[in-house]
Amino acid sequence: MLPALNWTSPGSRRAVIMGCGQIGSSIAGILAEDGWSLHMIDLDPAAFSLLPAGMMNDGQVVAIVGDGTLESDLRKSSTQDAEVFVAVSGKDARNALAAQIAKHVLQVKTVICRVNDPASKEMYEQFGIVTVSATALVTDMILQAARS
């Protein structure tokens, strides 16, 4: 079956998530429950099996096999019409490239990018991209727990 390329629920909030691993699929599950329309993009067709069963049946969540570092594939995922773009693949550089295309070429309002290396956070924020670093979050939590 060909993926539906247009948003099926015109009134709902729209997000595109690049990377359908543990983090991407968890975010998708929660946003879909909140009524968002989602397009998921991942290079690996098998990755979509992590999405909660049944979520794709009504077209609210659409899975697209593609490369999020290519503008053409991001357009196929309707990123240009999304309010939010989230890059949460396992590779920092891929996330950062995809995020910059979403922000500066496709003009997505809110772009969130996962980076492991917290040292690059400041630079991406200069580029208008919100970064989330699991390394920094986990470090903070462990330090907090250790000090309490």
Partner: protein
Amino acid sequence: MYVVILGAGKVGFALARWLVTSDHEVAVIDWDPSRCAALEDELGGISVVGDGTDAGVLARAGCNRADVFVGAGGVDEDNLIACQLARHRFGALKTISLVNIPEHEALFALLGIDVTVNATDMIVGRLKEELSGAAILDLEEMR
């Protein structure tokens, strides 16, 4: 001039060799220790083993005093991020990047890379030249 190069593959190696013989100072970053070893066998201790998109590795390569940073790796996103870090975090004066996927050429310029070198289009362009005109006629005659 101090030049930091990402990638000790064919392009990075040849560029480093030319810079060394032209009396410039060079550092080459590559994640593959065997490629760095091959480079050092010929050109001396100018390599840094590591991920060139990691700010710590760029710091070890002396990016804070680089005049030029060259992304010569085979993976476009790594070239882009390394160039951007070299410029914005370390203050490199000029960034040059190889572009392996032609679709990325205009994008890299938009994202602030000073010079892009689109290897695929250059090679295809050259092949088209060879295959046009007389060359095609020769092939036709051979059929």
